[in-house]
């Protein structure tokens, strides 16, 4: 599917906001695909990490609606291998935070059975809350 990219002032603002929030110079990404090749979660994602970086650069806010940013497990495989020294995990975190800071949560505690919750080591709850709730 070919999508037309429309670069407007709003998209420039969005791109700059993500660059600021993540601290990563996204324009350095040359779309080599190493991050995508390294990512263990890529099968579960709707767009690849490279595509996520591209959408950010184009200022396309639809990237915020993708499952990709939530399925990222912050394993830092991409970080360790990016030939340009970029950190895609930080970009994913910035995109997550743009939703979470508006109290739009990904994880809804009420939907999880309490007895199930008891089986997990506590660190699972702490990590999941910090990553997936605002």
């Amino acid at each position: 599917m070919i999508k037309k990219a429309i670069i407007s002032e709003a998209s420039e603002t969005f791109c700059k906001k993500v660059i600021e929030l993540s601290g990563e110079i996204v324009s350095r990404c040359d779309q080599c695909g190493t991050c995508t090749g390294s990512c263990p979660m890529v099968i579960e994602m709707d767009i690849s990490p490279s595509q996520m970086m591209r959408l950010v650069l184009l200022g396309d806010e639809s990237v915020l609606e993708m499952k990709t940013i939530w399925i990222c497990a912050s394993c830092f495989s991409c970080t360790a291998r990016c030939p340009r020294g970029l950190d895609a995990s930080k970009v994913a975190e910035a995109l997550r935070q743009m939703k979470l800071r508006k109290a739009i949560h990904y994880l809804h505690l009420e939907e999880i059975d309490r007895e199930e919750l008891k089986k997990f080591p506590q660190m699972v709850l702490v990590a999941a809350y910090r990553k997936l709730t605002g």
Binding site: E20, E44, Q122, M123, L132
Partner: protein, 301 residues
């Protein structure tokens, strides 16, 4: 007995208690006393990755501060903070680095923490138990071995947070050898699993279970293909995903054969001939004891 401060983290004194008890027993055998910090709070498990965040760094910073105060007040032989959990290691080291480098952030956080009795200055050094073992020396460990694990094929698993990002990892992220060296000192047979440093799915085990099922299946079957009889790990979350989730793996992949997953300290207990009564060998979903009995490494009491 050399005394060193120890930070447990939320899971090490509850769900993963046997990891702590076995580590402390092994440390004692190597003349180290791991002293739990008297007052500690959860480290936060994950390092906040946005550039502007301060709030989510408060938890690890208070941990580092408490360690500094404890070491100073008690004149310990070793003032570094030792941790067992890979997640704690990662978040504490990364936050420490951030707080040392960004002086403005550090000042703001110290200001916010005005109820504390001192300020954090970046002086705490965090190390993982495996690094401590490496420092003690593999030859020293070899000399302690009374029950060599020579007929056991082990596949060590690292996961992500022990190795990445490079500036806080305890070994090379692509080709780590620290657990292999440890296992060699115990005379175990080490097999090479190409997926030993691949993520197990981490906290997705809570709400996106299938991700973990698939990833763990890949990791475990690759280890089995290499000839592994048992997997070692250093993180309660990895242990949960690789061990407990085998229940879900079997439901999806019917041909899957279960394989026990233990903490590396449990194997050390066996190798050092330490009493196994409280080693928590019964705390696993896939019971390692039948394998140990078969290898004549364990006797039912």
């Amino acid at each position: 007995m050399k005394r060193i401060p120890y930070y447990p983290g939320c899971s090490l004194q509850t769900k993963a208690k046997h990891f702590e008890t076995t580590a402390m027993a092994v440390a004692e055998a190597l003349d180290y006393e791991m002293i739990t910090l008297p007052r500690w709070n959860c480290c936060g498990a994950v390092h906040s990755l946005t550039s502007d965040d301060l709030m989510h760094h408060i938890a690890p910073v208070t941990t580092l501060l408490r360690s500094k105060e404890f070491s100073e007040a008690n004149q310990l032989d070793d003032s570094r903070l030792v941790v067992l959990c890979a997640m704690c290691l990662n978040v504490l080291k990364r936050t420490n680095k951030r707080v040392i480098e960004l002086i403005d952030d550090r000042t703001k956080m110290n200001d916010f923490l005005y109820l504390e009795s001192s300020k954090y200055d970046g002086s705490t050094q965090v190390i993982h138990f495996l690094e401590l073992l490496k420092e003690i020396g593999w030859d020293v460990l070899s000399r302690k071995v009374t029950h060599p694990l020579s007929n056991l094929s082990v596949s060590p698993y690292y996961g992500c947070l022990l190795l990445r990002p490079k500036e806080v990892g305890i070994d090379d992220p692509e080709a780590p050898v620290i657990q292999e060296n440890l296992l060699h000192s115990l005379q175990a047979k080490v097999v090479e699993n190409p997926l030993k440093n691949r993520c197990c799915g981490s906290y997705h085990t809570l709400a996106d279970k299938q991700v973990v099922v698939d990833l763990s299946y890949d990791i475990l079957t690759n280890a089995q293909k290499a000839g592994a009889e048992i997997i070692t790990t250093s993180c309660p979350l990895c242990a949960f995903n690789l061990d407990q989730r085998q229940e879900d793996i079997i439901k999806k992949y019917s041909g899957f054969k279960k394989i026990p997953v233990v903490y590396f300290t449990e194997l050390m207990m066996i190798a050092f001939g330490l009493p196994l009564k409280n080693a928590g060998l019964d705390q696993h979903y896939v019971d390692p004891r039948p394998l140990f009995i078969e290898k004549e490494m364990y006797h039912e009491e």
